[in-house]
Symmetry: C2
Subunit: 131 residues, 2 copies
């Protein structure tokens, strides 16, 4: 069981974009990336549709086609990718969306908020140019 919350989709997005960034300016195909990551080609294709719509990559169809980064690798953080795949992160509120808490001092306040902030800052700091 995984302690951090990262779907297969977000995992694929982060890892495949890192590979795309590494091989710039060469285009990479979904087929190639799926083999490289030992992942489902169908799922990865869906992920890249999302990444394309979100403006992270440019696509070229046909033979010798594939994906390249649309923005410089320095300008794409893991947080950007995470939010594109999983939706926007909202820190500062109860991580479970509760408006009412049975505890005067939430039993999670001290620790869970610290950890959430840590993950947030970590994702924000890591950039595709780091690979």
């Amino acid at each position: 069981m995984n302690l951090i919350n990262l779907s297969e989709g977000a995992y694929l997005a982060m890892h495949s974009l890192a590979l795309v960034a590494k091989s710039q300016p060469e285009r990479l195909t979904v087929k190639h990336l799926a083999e490289e990551l030992d992942a489902s080609q169908a799922h990865l294709a869906k992920v890249f549709q999302t990444l394309h719509k979100a403006g992270f990559v440019d696509s070229v169809r046909g033979p010798a086609g594939g994906f390249i980064l649309k923005k410089p690798a320095e300008e794409i953080s893991f947080l950007d990718i995470y939010e594109a795949m999983e939706g926007p992160v909202n820190l500062g509120h109860c991580p479970f969306g509760k408006t009412k808490c049975a505890f005067h001092n939430c039993i999670f306040t001290k620790d869970i908020h610290r950890i959430s902030a840590d993950i947030y800052q970590t994702y924000k700091r890591i950039r595709l140019s780091d690979f």
Copy 2:
């Protein structure tokens, strides 16, 4: 979107056991706890079936029934509860269960492992007696 991985079930287990611990030796009912936590009574009842089987609570049926802790609050950590609800945690491996990694140094090694270890130690440290 929540950065840490904690299901509604695990959230309910941690919070309701904290309330049970606080009100010892009085028994608490699922109905009471559901109101207190503003949560689904049906779901909480399921959670307590799991907690009962896992040996965290003793149950008494019928009027004036409810749940009490079976073990001292000092001996129950959030990690114990988490694992009872979500399954055993395995640190030290790829958090996504991959045996093959496309990166010589996994892009997550430094940070994700640090954060996972942090969450693990935090859950391990927090005990029901802390409330």
